[in-house]
């Protein structure tokens, strides 16, 4: 998956989990938990949606790599 596709997937998934977040205004360095205020259940749902949409299953040990929006996009681009 190229970075553009990965970005579209991530934006769509965040839009579902946190519909109030306006991604146009979000810096990609933003942290999902602290800055976008996703709790652990939101985060799990995000990982689940990405798994459903792309088949990329992010194991727990890789969570540290997907702390930020940019990190998540990069992870998908290299694993998808």
């Amino acid at each position: 998956m190229n970075e553009q596709d990965a970005r579209a997937v991530v934006h769509a998934a965040i839009g579902k989990v946190a519909p109030d977040v306006d991604l146009a205004d979000v810096d990609e360095g933003s942290r999902l938990r602290q800055d976008l205020e996703l709790d652990s259940l939101d985060f799990l749902r995000l990982v689940e949606i990405i798994d459903t949409d792309t088949g990329v299953n992010i194991p727990e040990r890789d969570y540290p790599a997907v702390v930020t929006v940019a990190g998540l996009i990069g992870y998908l681009a290299s694993h998808g």
């Binding site: 579209a8 934006h11 769509a12 839009g15 109030d20 709790d39 259940l41 459903t52 727990e60």
Partner: protein, 453 residues
């Protein structure tokens, strides 16, 4: 017969606005069937019938705001209780004469039908009199009823609001989803399962990119609210929380305790379990903590129940309220029923369902009305500890902070472990620090054997 009243959906509720009728005159409802959707200051809730019968009249129009206790609908007794009539339309005994709102055949002769089949038709929500019988002598068989249900499927599938929303989002027909809820109702979990299984079968579920989901205020059922209405809702929720919390602080003599819970065993166990699971079945630490909080509440009854005019009434069941922060501001604390008896996976599933419905503003009456103790898990968003304010008439509030690594001394050795600060705010009219301390100590002990939770 009896009236279906605007219920009180929490200590602070004085009125409610009828948002949607889930039944229409002539429908057969059983105890527990969802009847209407009511908007309180806090959330939009599905409310259920406390009686069995036929809906004779809807007394309140959609959009009306009425005080608690106002009759919303008239429900009359049905032949199911008095024995079915030998023939014909399921006559509505004792129903007041009413103009049928839609052309509905009332007295036309209909096919013979055996009581069990009629009952099935009632249960599935189809009018037995309208079914074409293919059995002996033109009688209606079970298969006929099932066919009729299938034919009506699009509009007649019993389903939860979450299920309907998910189905809408994914463009699937609810009739195709096997329901596991009450009377075969399709739940959100059923839809997730359905989506999962069809993805396995290679069917593209949802292409990206997706349209952004609308905020709850602007979703389908209630008339799309202008931003002013959304702001008013947040302000109204703020007032409701303020009123309730003021009452709590004015009437409940709180005391506060805290302890640090060693999570080494729990995090290691959870990591190994999750590594073998698909994303949808993974656990989060909150689920383990909630289960421990519920089990401990069962063992220390002084923190589980209600304090009202009659003094303290301990609750035999543990209905664990979970404080859910709403993304647009404010919070609600609906209950996971009998949380102490639920297997961990079931509790996890209910937690996810409850939180997503709370965020979507769609909770059920019972969930809002009867938590016996509440847990707040604010730590998820970063703080080390949280001391909650008790929700009256409850007598305790449990708080969990952030799961963090910290230096841990044991047996003269220093190591690094995951840990969480658990707090208890409890009512001094009911318990004191010794019992409260016992409660937190039990949580600590239970968390050391996560595989037994």
């Amino acid at each position: 017969m009896g009236d279906f009243l605007m219920p009180s959906l929490g200590a602070d509720m004085e009125h409610g606005k009828l948002v949607e009728w889930l039944v229409k005159p002539g429908d057969y409802v059983r105890r527990g069937d969802l009847v209407a959707v009511v908007d309180t200051d806090k959330t939009v809730m599905d409310i259920e019938s406390f009686q069995e019968g036929v809906v004779a009249d809807l007394l309140v129009d959609i959009g009306e705001t009425v005080p608690v206790g106002t009759p919303l609908a008239r429900i009359t007794q049905t032949p199911a209780e008095t024995g079915p009539p030998p023939h014909g339309e399921s006559g509505v005994h004792g129903a007041p004469a009413k103009p049928a709102p839609s052309p509905r055949p009332v007295a036309r002769p209909s096919a013979p039908i055996a009581p069990p089949v009629r009952h099935l038709a009632h249960q599935l929500g189809v009018d037995a009199a309208t079914i074409h019988g293919t059995g002996k002598g033109g009688s209606v068989t079970r298969a006929d009823v099932e066919h009729a249900v299938a034919a009506h499927a699009g509009s007649r599938v019993r389903s939860s609001p979450l299920a309907r929303r998910l189905a809408g989002e994914h463009g699937i027909d609810l009739a195709a989803v096997p329901g596991t809820g009450p009377q075969g109702a399709v739940t959100g979990a059923d839809v997730h399962r359905y989506l999962g299984s069809h993805e396995d079968a290679g069917i593209q579920v949802e292409p990206v990119p997706l349209p952004r989901e609308l905020p709850p205020e602007a979703r389908e059922e209630p008339p799309a609210g202008p931003p002013a209405e959304a702001r008013e809702r947040v302000a109204s929720l703020r007032r409701a929380i303020g009123t309730l919390m003021s009452r709590s602080k004015q009437t409940i003599p709180h005391y506060y305790l805290s302890t640090t819970v060693d999570l080494r065993a729990a995090t290691e166990w959870m990591r190994s379990v999750n590594a073998q699971r698909p994303v949808a079945a993974r656990l989060v630490p909150s689920a383990l903590l909630l289960k421990a909080a519920a089990l401990a509440a069962k063992e220390v009854p002084e923190v589980n129940g209600f304090f009202d005019d009659g003094g303290f009434r301990p609750s035999p069941a543990v209905h664990l309220g979970v404080a859910v922060a709403l993304r647009q501001g404010g919070l609600v604390a609906p209950a996971i029923h009998d949380a102490d008896t639920l297997p961990l996976d079931a509790l996890m599933e209910q937690l996810r369902d409850l939180v997503s419905r709370a965020r979507a503003g769609r909770l059920q009456r019972a969930e809002m009305a009867d938590p016996t103790i509440t847990v707040t898990n604010l730590g998820d968003l970063g703080v080390e500890s949280v001391y909650g304010v008790i929700y009256p008439p409850q007598v305790a509030m449990v708080g969990f902070g952030r799961v963090m690594e910290q230096p841990w001394a044991q047996n003269g050795m220093l190591g690094v472990r995951h840990a969480v600060i658990a707090t208890l705010s409890a009512d001094h009219r009911v318990s004191d620090g010794l019992r409260g301390g016992r409660y937190l100590a039990r949580i600590e002990e239970l968390m050391q054997k996560p595989e037994e939770l």
